[in-house]
């Protein structure tokens, strides 16, 4: 399966030149760009591991692309990697864009567990299947 989280998962995988355009968009908006990775793509898994601190005060996408390269060297093809742009403006103070820039070579998907309660009601539990070769 293909996890379709993030802004651009229905497009063909982004090239580095593509990613650069979106990173520059964030920088020009004054947002801090953050690189995160995880082996648990559950949609409620909010806190992916941060690769480094969010990049505040940069003017150009180059340093983020450098960090992304470094992150890929370690996790590329094995974990999910995403970029996000954080807006500290009052009233937002949250993520304004987020998109995947790396996936494991094989995406094992999720297990949906149905627990029958009383009557016809079902409690659903969603769990990501472990990624091959990934630990923690």
């Amino acid at each position: 399966m293909r996890v379709t989280q993030g802004c651009f998962s229905f497009l063909p995988d982004l090239t580095d030149a593509d990613i650069r355009t979106q990173v520059q968009y964030c920088i020009d908006k004054g947002w801090a760009v953050n690189i995160e990775f995880t082996d648990d793509p559950h949609p409620r898994n909010t806190y992916w591991e941060m690769w480094s601190l969010p990049a505040f005060d940069v003017k150009d996408a180059a340093p983020i692309m450098l960090e992304l390269d470094a992150c890929r060297k370690v996790h590329g093809g094995r974990k999910y990697i995403r970029l996000s742009g954080f807006d500290s403006t009052h009233g937002w103070e949250s993520v304004r864009i987020s998109f995947l820039v790396g996936r494991p070579q094989e995406e094992p998907g999720f297990i949906l567990t149905r627990n029958e309660g009383g009557g016809q009601a079902i409690q659903y539990t969603l769990q990501a299947r472990p990624l091959p070769g990934a630990s923690a």
Binding site: D57, V58, K59, A62, P63, L66
Partner: protein, 305 residues
């Protein structure tokens, strides 16, 4: 490397009008502004024009497929304090941006303290942070030789130097570094760190200003603040420049600015000391009295004004 700003020429393009090429980049405007904004500095301005010409030609050559390499653009600006190095660096960033050699055109100005940390493990992130902020633009390192302290073999400056060298080589598309400082010390620094010397394409030497140039600078600064010298004031200021130059810590245009700040303060206090009304003329005029009260004129003075 940013995309060239002008469209790729039609196939078979054989003759190119370099002047038109220059006009399209609007670099000429930056050069003219540099002329207007900075008094004197003729050799510097000539060098900048030469570099700009080289870069325009290089751009055309790359477009025609004669070369593919990103040229090395790191520079060293040597000269005494107050000779216009920072101002020229700002304009240089603008020129490089307009020619498409850097993507953003901003200048990040730092000294040793911004790059070198206080404890082990502190320097690398600090240096990288600065480099990240400068990417897409120009990193201006003032008094760069302070990075190198051979007397202390465990100095963290060495770590910053190594990271700088690496980025200057590998990220030539992403930023241009300009080193600045006194000529003699810079020379020593480069001799001790040959890695820098080989990565620097352009050296520009900033001469001290002549007395006449400093006078012109002073008058320009006053004008921008809506002040002027009267005849006596101008004569006194000429004397001031000659005297100040002989004293320690002389810093060319910067000394002139500091002197003018003090003279404006004396002028203000002079008006308060004299009862009566002041006219518009009074408020805008710096007189001999304002200038000559400076300690620079006191032969025994050990400290500059």
């Amino acid at each position: 490397m940013a995309e060239p700003l002008t469209p790729v020429p039609a196939p078979g393009e054989t003759a190119i009008d370099l002047h038109k090429e220059l006009a399209e980049t609007q670099v000429a405007e930056v050069l003219d502004e540099l002329d207007r904004e900075l008094v004197g500095l003729a050799p510097v301005k000539t060098r900048i024009r030469e570099i700009a010409a080289l870069l325009v030609v290089d751009r055309v050559r790359r477009r025609m497929g004669l070369t593919a390499e990103t040229p090395t653009l790191h520079m060293s600006f040597t000269g005494n304090p107050g000779t216009g190095k920072t101002t020229v660096a700002l304009r240089m960033a603008e020129i490089l941006y307009k020619l498409g050699y850097i993507r953003r055109g901003h200048l990040v100005s730092v000294t040793r303290d911004d790059l070198v940390g206080q404890y082990i493990g502190h320097t690398a992130p600090k240096t990288k942070e600065v480099l990240k902020k400068a990417m897409g633009g120009v990193l201006f390192i003032d008094e760069a030789y302070y990075l190198y302290r051979p007397e202390n073999e465990r100095d963290y400056g060495q770590e910053a130097i190594e990271i700088l060298l690496q980025v200057m080589e590998n990220q030539r598309d992403d930023l241009v570094v300009i080193f600045a400082g006194y000529a003699d010390r810079m020379d020593k620094f480069f001799r001790a760190n040959p890695g820098f010397r080989s990565r620097i394409a352009h050296h520009i030497d900033f001469p001290d200003y002549t007395d006449a140039e400093l006078m012109a600078i002073g008058e320009m600064m006053l004008k921008s603040l809506s002040y002027h010298f009267d005849a006596g004031g101008a004569a006194a200021f000429r004397d001031y420049i000659a005297a100040r130059r002989k004293q320690p810590h002389f810093a060319n245009a910067r000394s002139i600015r500091n002197a003018l700040d003090r003279m404006r303060m004396r002028q203000a206090n002079r008006h308060f000391a004299h009862p009566g009304l002041v006219t518009l003329d009074d408020l805008t005029t710096i007189t001999a009295e304002d200038v000559r009260a400076s300690r620079v004129f006191n032969q025994d003075a050990t400290k500059p004004d």
